[in-house]
């Protein structure tokens, strides 16, 4: 009797286990198919966008009308960008095709730059044309490499979903290798590896766009003087943090050095009186300026409003030698207010030279400071006198917009270019737009839409 029952229970358990295993396998297969489809989609998108952009670049070279040329360049710009996107989402384990990614992004950006030039009525120079011919040759080679990989994909030697399987434990792997000796096979991803290696050796591409090679490592223009010693930096950090908290006292806990685009001493301070309050202050190695401050304490319910916070921030800036700063935008972030200031010279707002100040709304303490943009960009500028009057700039605005204010502003454009413009605050329906009219030529340089975020406000 007992024997019968146990046999029955065991048989039932076995059936359940087998059933569960089959069910799990079915699940796994449907997921694997979905992943495979995703990989295939990204791969074929990549291949076809690379081919298409190469064709569009060719059409640009074959075309003689600037209008058509601009159309083909715009196509190449979008197709190369789509190719970069597809490449970045493709599972290629063990390989980071960053050179291919950079090449596609740069080609896209460069096509955009040339299209913009044509749109402004300027001509593409022979050198720029030559540059595009070279990029197109590389694009063709990349397409050829990808077509080779496509052969592998079509022959099912390359399964994207297989890259996601869980790794076999080492002892099992060893046994498996005894049973089935591994043969030397070319990896299915060799096409990607070769293309990426070749694209690494491309000569640098310099033009007026955000991905130009000359912008890869910007140098801080706003730092003067030699390198300061660590103890000097510590002293400056202590004084600054004390001022920010309105007379608090701190002591140094740790200091680390940081060798980013703006080399700093990162000084970690603890509050002497308030337990658990730490402040991180970054002091630039060159010149010993305070680049950043972050107080990590949590902020309680507000007792100040946005206007009072702005006054605190402005007073704090003034007391630290930033005499002529203009608040430009303010946004509520939790229980604190973040205010962006831009430098001002001869009544011109210098947008590249920005400092952000974060004020805790519970007691008005300065809990954040970021002068990185300021020290990266600030220098003595000699800008020309505007040729247009504010009224002439106003007249350039699309007549459907309601103008709410005009002032002079120096704005940064892609490729580290700065232009003197009239900043015109306008309103279309219920949305604000900032339109920038070149103060020398009257050209419209840029349009910004102000996105309404809770507590965000443009101060103008």
């Amino acid at each position: 009797m007992i024997r019968k029952i146990t046999t029955l229970v065991l048989a039932l358990a076995l059936m359940l286990a087998v059933g569960w295993g089959l069910w799990e396998r079915a699940n796994r297969l449907s997921l694997a198919n979905a992943v495979e489809a995703g990989g295939q989609r990204d791969f074929y998108n990549l291949l076809s966008y690379v081919e298409q952009s190469q064709v569009s670049m060719g059409k640009f070279l074959a075309s003689s009308s600037p209008r058509q040329q601009a159309v083909h360049l715009t196509e190449a710009w979008n197709q190369a960008a789509a190719a970069q996107h597809a490449l970045s989402q493709l599972p290629t384990p063990g390989i980071k095709p960053i050179n291919t990614s950079k090449f596609l992004a740069q080609t896209s950006d460069y096509s955009n730059y040339l299209a913009q030039k044509l749109a402004r009525g300027e001509e593409v120079t022979p050198q720029e044309r030559e540059q595009l011919v070279r990029l197109r040759e590389e694009m063709k080679r990349l397409a050829a490499d990808l077509r080779q990989t496509e052969n592998q994909v079509a022959a099912k030697n390359l399964r994207w979903s297989s890259f996601y399987s869980t790794r076999m434990p080492q002892p099992l792997k060893t046994i498996a290798r005894f049973a089935v000796p591994a043969q030397a096979q070319p990896s299915p991803l060799d096409g990607f590896v070769n293309a990426d290696r070749r694209l690494q050796t491309l000569p640098s591409l310099n033009y007026d766009g955000p991905f130009s090679d000359h912008l890869e490592k910007p140098r801080p223009l706003g730092l003067k003087g030699g390198e300061v010693a660590q103890n000097v930096a510590e002293q400056k950090a202590l004084t600054f943090a004390g001022d920010a908290s309105g007379g608090g006292s701190y002591r140094v806990q740790t200091v680390r050095t940081s060798n980013g685009l703006l080399p700093t001493y990162a000084v970690n301070l603890v509050d002497d009186r308030r337990a658990g309050v730490t402040v991180n202050v970054d002091v630039s190695k060159q010149g010993g300026e305070i680049v950043s401050l972050l107080n990590t304490r949590s902020v309680d319910a507000p007792t100040l409003d946005g206007a009072q916070a702005l006054d605190r921030a402005a007073a704090f800036l003034k007391s630290h030698g930033f005499a002529d700063m203009q608040p430009t935008y303010t946004v509520r972030s939790g229980n604190s207010q973040v205010i962006t200031f831009a430098a001002k010279k001869d009544d011109v707002i210098l947008y590249p030279d920005q400092v952000k100040v974060k004020v805790a709304l519970d007691n008005g303490e300065i809990i954040g400071w970021d002068a990185t943009p300021y020290y990266m960009a600030h220098h003595d500028r000699q800008f020309p006198r505007p040729k247009l009057t504010p009224d002439e700039a106003r007249a350039k605005i699309n007549s459907g917009l309601k103008v709410e204010g005009v002032r002079l502003a120096l704005i940064p454009l892609p490729g580290s270019i700065e232009k003197l413009t009239y900043e015109v605050k306008t309103k279309l329906d219920d949305t604000h737009y900032l339109v920038y009219i070149n103060a020398l030529t009257g050209e419209e340089e840029k349009v910004l839409q102000i996105i309404d975020v809770p507590g965000g406000q443009l101060t103008m």
Binding site: I2, A13, W20, H85, Q89, T264, A266, V331, K356, K358
Partner: protein, 163 residues
């Protein structure tokens, strides 16, 4: 005890364990919180960006000092601006194997996002304690040897940051 029954104990126990495991997994799979990621490439509003970034920060650097959390957010944003990486926040976060927490699903399991949300907001507001880092990793964990060829900027908490 009957010798026959004694022989049965071990296989029976094994079966019970297996069944238990199956039931446990079944139960848990049915009850996993289903938070779906936003579609890559779709422009997201500012609020969505904070949420997405906060989730990654909490999963990648939940136990790191606050500065280290802001730094992880800044790395994502530096990648968005770099030609080496996708040009959207979601594209960067969900790039295959870009982040361990996306590969192992931790990003959908984190629950306490309060500090991470503040850190994400600071990063989106421009704070970057790494001054331009594109990579970070934990040197105590096994990582691809390739990553050590990047130029190291600094170490914050348990993470090394590099360009």
């Amino acid at each position: 005890m009957h010798p026959f029954r004694r022989r049965l104990i071990i296989p029976l126990l094994l079966m019970v364990i297996l069944l238990g495991a199956a039931l446990w997994q079944f139960y848990h799979e049915g009850h996993l919180p289903r938070i779906l990621p936003t579609q890559a490439g779709v422009p997201v509003a500012v609020g969505d960006e904070v949420n997405l970034l906060a989730r990654l920060i909490a999963a990648e650097a939940g136990n790191e000092p606050y500065e280290g959390q802001v730094a992880v957010g800044a790395v994502v944003l530096n990648r968005v601006r770099s030609p080496l990486f996708p040009s959207t926040i979601s594209g960067v976060i969900y790039e295959p194997w870009a982040f361990e927490s996306v590969a192992n699903g931790l990003i959908w399991q984190v629950s306490n996002l309060s500090t991470a949300t503040a850190a994400a907001a600071d990063a989106l507001n421009g704070w970057d304690p790494t001054y331009g880092a594109l990579f970070f990793w934990n040197p105590a964990k096994p990582v691809s040897p390739w990553i050590w060829t990047r130029s190291i900027i600094t170490q914050i908490g348990n993470h090394v940051f590099a360009r």
